[in-house]
């Protein structure tokens, strides 16, 4: 299932006749990402029903609570699944997300421009740019706080008391606020820089790779020097 496939070098998709694609994610990573997407939105929707009074009718009867727990199980097991299926990639992702060098710091200086659609002055970035690293690191931390507070609410119901309940809900709400804002940013950048195909097909356009992750793109090129025009697939992350 994780076998590496060659990206087509011929014209493909609507992106234009000269668009070449490079593989960025292996299918197993895509599957894990989709489980994450579905469970996250299930949790968000069923959670918002208890947060935003006009939507509270969605929570009637307790079905949303059951869905919330099913979503939670999938969400919580996600890192374990990643770690079991691809231990090296998972650990590398964590390690990379918490390693920041001079290039990352330089990238952060140009972050406002990156937010507004400009990649012009960005220092060359590897497979993950500094913003993605920070996004992953923050997600990693808030995944833990939202999971821990959620489990306490789930299994401690009736034993928390007013203080315990409010403290745990505050942590849960703030973690989810953080994760939601980051999800919004994640979607924003995906559409801004046209990277949606990475999630759907596992491949991204050569142009995207060149503009956003030039170091990674170069390393892909270096691996296949024989085919200068061709871009051979190499799993990322």
């Amino acid at each position: 299932m994780t076998s590496v496939t060659l990206a087509p070098t011929a014209p493909e998709t609507a992106a234009g006749p000269e668009t070449h694609l490079v593989r960025r994610y292996v299918p197993a990573q895509q599957v894990i990402h989709w489980i994450g997407v579905i469970s996250f939105f299930l949790l968000l929707l069923t959670g918002v029903a208890l947060l935003f009074p006009p939507l509270s009718f969605l929570a009637k009867g307790g079905t949303s609570g059951v869905i919330h727990r099913i979503g939670a199980i999938a969400f919580i097991l996600l890192p374990a699944l990643y770690l079991l299926r691809m231990p090296r990639k998972a650990l590398e992702l964590v390690r990379e997300s918490f390693t920041y060098g001079r290039e990352e710091l330089a990238w952060f200086k140009h972050m406002p421009g990156y937010f507004l659609g400009s990649t012009r002055n960005l220092p060359p970035q590897g497979r993950l740019n500094a913003g993605q690293k920070l996004h992953h690191a923050a997600t990693f931390l808030m995944f833990n706080t939202v999971t821990l507070s959620g489990l306490i609410m789930w299994f401690g119901k009736g034993q928390l008391g007013p203080e315990g309940l409010s403290a745990v809900v505050i942590v849960h709400d703030i973690s989810m606020l953080g994760l939601s804002v980051m999800m919004i940013g994640h979607v924003y950048f995906t559409f801004l820089y046209g990277a949606l195909s990475g999630m759907v097909t596992g491949k991204v356009s050569e142009e995207y790779a060149r503009m956003e992750h030039s170091k990674w793109y170069e390393s892909l090129q270096a691996e296949t020097p024989a085919a200068a025009e061709k871009t051979e697939a190499r799993p990322a992350e």
């Binding site: 009637k60 307790g62 400009s118 990649t119 203080e163 409010s166 709400d173 939601s180």
Partner: protein
């Protein structure tokens, strides 16, 4: 000003017969294993020092009810001093079970289970089932001022036999909607002296909750607006990039002679 109703329970008159429990179950059509009222007993000492009293564990109908504050669906709300329940709205989240300082609400069959103040009866001018049924007239229901005055008179009369006799619930949590006439100090009955909704609960309700939904909507809105601008900006840049790439390719295939190559 709206009426403020209240119950009173006189533990001096209570004979522990459980009639209130049964009439409550029957009147509210509860299942056998569900009950809004628990009548227990407190026994102390032996022989000549033997002391005993029944006690009632049920909703106190707090004026500033933490369960109402915590309830995210509006299932629990205040009506004329009573904490009423609209079961069909309940999501069974269980926040009320933790928020209540008296540990009264429970989740039964996916909905909250606690005294509903027999709202239908009260709206028709009747007293709740427990008050109507009590054979020793230990449970009273009516306007809180009347009920409170009655309770004060009763406690004054009790002082001779029970020097520690007192009303529980006169001021706690904005004044409880159930005044308990105790024969001894509240701690003897396991009642908290100063039940409170903690500060963290106010932070949750009035800061964190509105901020969470507000800020995420704000972030989505801001990024949506920004997207329009940023997408245009990036489009220009991509066109530039493409042109440069084409130029480079053309140069490579045609003449390898020196011409300026454009770098980003």
């Amino acid at each position: 000003m709206p009426t403020r109703y209240a119950f009173s329970i006189d533990l001096d008159r209570c004979i522990g017969c459980q009639a209130c429990v049964i009439s409550c179950q029957a009147g509210n059509e509860l299942k056998d294993d569900e009950t809004y009222i628990h009548v227990g007993e407190q026994i102390r000492g032996s022989g000549k020092t033997l002391w005993g009293s029944f006690d009632h564990h049920r909703c106190f109908h707090c004026a500033d009810a933490p369960c109402v504050a915590a309830c995210p669906t509006g299932t629990l709300s205040k009506w004329n001093g009573l904490t009423i329940v609209e079961k069909e709205k309940c999501s069974a989240c269980g926040y009320c079970t933790d928020a209540c300082p008296f540990k009264v609400p429970h989740i039964v069959d996916n909905h909250v289970s606690k005294c509903v103040a027999c709202l239908d009866q009260v709206k028709e001018g009747q007293a709740p089932w427990c008050a109507r049924t009590c054979p020793s007239q230990a449970i009273h229901f009516g306007e809180r001022e009347t009920i409170l005055a009655e309770a004060r008179a009763k406690v004054a009369a009790l002082k001779a036999r029970h020097p520690n006799a007192q009303i529980y619930g006169e001021t706690q949590l904005g004044g409880l909607g159930l005044l308990m006439i105790l024969l001894d100090k509240p701690e003897v009955y396991g009642l908290p002296l100063d039940p409170k909704a903690p500060e963290t609960m106010k932070v949750w309700q009035s800061v964190v909750q509105p901020a969470s939904s507000g800020l995420s909507v704000l972030a989505a809105g801001a990024m949506g607006l920004m997207f329009v601008f940023a997408r245009r900006q990036h489009g220009k840049e991509r066109a530039e990039h493409e042109r440069a790439a084409k130029q480079k390719a053309a140069l490579q295939t045609a003449q390898p002679k020196a011409t300026e190559t454009h770098h980003d």
